[in-house]
Amino acid sequence: MQAKAGQFFSSGHTNNWAVLVCTSRFWFNYRHVANTLSVYRSVKRLGIPDSHIVLMLADDMACNHRNPKPATVFSHKNMELNVYGDDVEVDYRGYEVTVENFLRVLTGRLPPSTPRSKRLLSDDHSNILIYLTGTSRWNGFLKFQDSEEISNVELADAFEQMWTKRRYNELLFIIDTCQGASMYERFYSPNLMALASSQVGEDSLSHQPDLAIGVHLMDRYTFYLLEFLEDIHPASTANMNDLFKVCPKSQCVSTPGHRTDLFLRDPGNVLITDFFGSVRKVEITMETINLTAPMVFSIEIIIKNYCNQ
């Protein structure tokens, strides 16, 4: 019985977080907001609650005055799927989506008056999904709001800070932008897995325009990713190898890339729902904890946590 329970809790994470960022502004970048919202929709559907999702949208497309159908963001042409929905909570919007705020959210160094919904309150048993989308015209950076950029070195350092501060157990990083693979080249912290929509030297292309709205609705990689995720349900056993096969060159025109050398487990054993869903797990302890003496209680907990690593 004990062994079976031990097998069940093998992945070591107890909660899931998601940080979904769209970094581009202006109406013609509608597709980036649609990308982020479709990942948001899948992640919510698979169980991660709004309190564990930090959604950052750099511009408002749904209630933009150019939108012929207000309060909607569509991902398929002929307005089939409204990924904006009726129950959405955007934590950072408009001018708040900056490189500084993004890095502060990741590393947890936020001003004390920041509300809880804007914080990434992860711990060392959290699996975090980070999704970035935007434009980047060259190798090694991602543009934020067309006025500043984040480089791959900064991102790698931020993840290292997260690792030393024990802010994640495992981290999945997905990026959909031109030359996306350059963004994960510099990672050096353990337990990171990364996916990108295109290799260095290639452009990520958009999928299809809608004539009524007048702009491209989605990027190809995220479009096929959304199609793949629509088939996943919370009890699904699909693993990461299936995710790596999403959008081959014939569909995507660019070659999606992935990086698993920093990840300790074998990707074939990692379930999709480990990152996209929210499976609540419980830690069992066999010891009794004395609650009457507070000082002794805290030292015991510290020793117990330290020994369990």
Partner: protein, 647 residues
């Protein structure tokens, strides 16, 4: 036998009550936003259990019955749908119902063919957090807001999010005016020592609750008005140190702001009038405004105790032409793509009012289904007649179990509308990117009465106002304001604040002009899209406007929510607030690629210039002989050996 059964019933009931209390405590700890909804779910089954238990009681068990009624008195009052015919009138309730919730919807057809719908939800919260007692039990009042209010010692809180501009001349006066963008003004209690610190934290917390960028409110857009924005609730706190006012004209409103706003209602968006609020229809409108007003009011006409009132309002104007179909016909389904099927079970009153003042005999439009209830209310200085649909009465829903009102117009012409007495406009004049002029026009359309208005202007620091050029003219002549309060701006610290009390002559236009100069910002202070322009918040014009009919100062009568928002002190006038348009000004914008260009050019010039100069100054020339031929070299070797000078 009977006594034995009584004991068992009592025991079972006590156990049920205790488990219910423990379960409720657990739910409250873990789920603070959904608290109101869980309360709604829990109370209904409890009342049902109570009703079934009560119906099994006999006359012998009066002792147990009385005790049980005392237990249940609170729940029965809130679940108004359950008929309490069994309760004897002479048993006093132990704890009277503390919270109360009312909802109403007013539909007013406008003369331009559009239709104006105004939702108002009022939650009364009877609690005593002023005296330091911590509130831990929340019923109808939303817990997330209650905790914020008690933590920051807020006396009054008014926040509104608006998309669109209210066109006063075409639509008349709104029930609750609001400026485009987000507006927040707060009166703190006089026990707060650091008002600025509390204001900063409050704006951050509210930005988390409403998913809006209210954290951009800081000292550069906050002012302390001295005369406008007096408290709308009870209390004689008039020290302006405790008042803060800020407006963000650029703030957008979308579904992410509506979702948390709806979650603050006791029934959420699941029952009652809130089911009509679907974002796809609400944002496809000419004007959309959602607001939240919190203030202390009298509990009843004796005013011995104060209760806290939370009003959530949503005003929307639907456009005739964008909704499709040429003919003029409006229905609940066409406006909201939903119909009402039931009232909120937690509401003590739930009504829909349709304005039929212009339609006394039904000759202008036809309203179906018909209703016998009519009500008259004096609102905005005019006596209006309303057809009332009472949603707590099951008969309103008829056979189809849903209410879908239909207004079908017969006549093409609708006649003239009552001209609004007070109206404001504002625009920027001038040319170029250095100077400009702000013109504010205030119209007094009353034929013979003059009245004073209070004008509040908040201008950001980067438009440097020249107050010595301020002119106020009415009918071509100078009009000197009787009270001026001006606080100049400080660069990057605080904005301009100008408040003036101006007397408007009857049937006239008063023009206020001021010149300004545009400042050049530091290059990091520009937004990512600076060529869009920079917004200046709306001016606020507050006035006591003479009323055509006698206003109702008697606050004891039960009056509909929409007519009782602004307190009415005298019969001959009513309070009105008008917002002008926000301004969009272009600041001189630099070319942001220039730092890169400058660095390249400077480095090139320095490299070329300095390099050349250095070479010229420090280079020395040495003459070097070409290497001699073989014969000469041999001869030189022999000469060296002999000690003779070389060739």
């Amino acid at each position: 036998m009977a006594a034995h059964r009584c004991n068992i019933f009592m025991l079972v009931f006590v156990l049920c009550g205790l488990t219910y209390v423990f379960v409720r405590a657990d739910i409250e700890d873990t789920n603070h936003v959904k608290d109101a909804e869980s309360v709604a779910v829990d109370i209904a089954p409890k009342a049902n259990i109570g009703a079934s238990l009560r119906s099994t009681k006999t006359e012998d068990q009066t002792q147990a019955a009385e005790e049980e009624r005392q237990w249940e008195a609170t729940e029965v009052k809130e679940a108004d749908r359950v008929p309490d015919t069994m309760q004897t009138p002479d048993v006093p309730p132990l704890t009277p119902a503390k919270d109360q919730f009312q909802e109403e919807l007013v539909i007013r057809p406008l003369h331009s063919g559009d239709i104006y719908a105004s939702f108002q939800f009022r939650t009364m919260w009877d609690t005593d957090f002023l005296r330091g007692s911590k509130v831990s039990h929340y019923r109808l009042f939303p817990k997330s807001l209650g905790q914020v209010i008690s933590k920051f010692s807020v006396r009054e809180l008014h926040i509104s999010f608006t998309q669109g501009y209210w066109r006063t001349m075409q639509w008349g006066q709104p029930f609750l005016p609001s400026p485009p963008g987000a507006e927040l003004w707060v009166w703190f209690q006089d026990t707060v020592t650091d008002v600025d610190g509390a204001w900063k934290e409050l704006t951050n917390v509210l930005s988390g609750i409403f998913c809006a960028s209210l954290n951009f409110i800081d000292s550069t857009n906050t002012v302390q008005p001295s005369a406008s924005f007096k408290p709308l609730g009870l209390g004689n706190v008039t020290d302006q140190r405790f008042l803060r006012y800020a407006v963000l004209p650029r703030e957008i409103v979308c579904t992410e702001n509506l979702t948390p706003w709806k979650k603050l209602l006791p029934c959420g968006s699941k029952a009652g009038l809130a089911v009509l609020m679907k974002s796809e229809k609400l944002f496809h409108s000419s004007f959309h405004s959602q607001a939240l007003h919190f203030r202390p009011v009298c509990q009843d006409w004796k005013c011995k105790s104060t209760v806290w009132e939370l009003r959530q309002t949503l005003n929307v104007v639907f456009d005739l032409h964008t909704s499709g179909q040429g003919k003029r016909e409006w229905s609940l389904f066409k406006m909201f793509s939903r119909t009402v099927t039931e009232a909120c079970p937690l509401a003590s009153s739930s009504k829909v009012y349709v304005d039929v003042t212009d339609n006394p005999q039904g000759e202008l439009f036809e309203l179906s289904p018909t209703t016998p209830l009519l009500s008259q209310a004096v609102v905005l200085g005019d006596r209006r007649t309303y057809s009332v649909y009472d949603l707590t009465n099951q008969a309103t829903f008829g056979q189809t179990r849903s209410l879908n009102m239909l207004l079908r117009w017969r006549a093409a012409e609708s006649g003239d509308m009552l001209r609004p007495l007070l109206h404001g406009e504002r625009y920027v004049a001038g040319y170029g990117l250095q100077t400009g002029e702000i013109h504010t026009l205030m119209y007094n359309n009353h034929p013979y009465r003059a009245f004073p208005v209070l004008l509040l202007d908040t201008v950001p620091w980067y438009l440097r106002l020249y107050i010595h050029t301020l002119t106020v003219t009415s009918k071509g002549r100078d009009n000197k304001p009787s009270y001026i309060h001006y606080q100049p701006s400080k660069d990057r610290l605080r904005p301009h604040l100008l408040e003036m009390l101006v007397q408007l002559p009857p049937n006239s236009v008063t023009e206020v002009t001021m010149q300004f100069e545009r400042a050049l910002l530091k290059w990091t202070e520009y937004t990512p899209d600076p060529n869009h322009g920079f917004y200046v918040g709306s001016s606020v014009i507050s006035a006591l406007v003479p009323s055509v009919v006698a206003m109702d100062t008697n606050s004891t009568r039960e009056c509909p929510l929409f007519s009782s928002f602004f307190p009415c002190k005298e019969e001959s006038s009513y309070f009105m607030r008008v917002y002008t348009e926000p301004l969009l000004v272009n600041l001189p914008t630099p070319d942001f690629s220039m730092p890169y260009n400058v660095i390249c050019l400077t480095c090139t010039v320095v490299a070329v210039g300095y390099g050349s100069l250095y070479n010229l100054l420090t280079r020395t020339f040495q003459v070097e002989e070409p290497s001699p031929g073989l014969a000469k070299r041999l001869a030189n070797i022999i000469r060296r050996l002999r000690g003779v000078p070389l060739l």
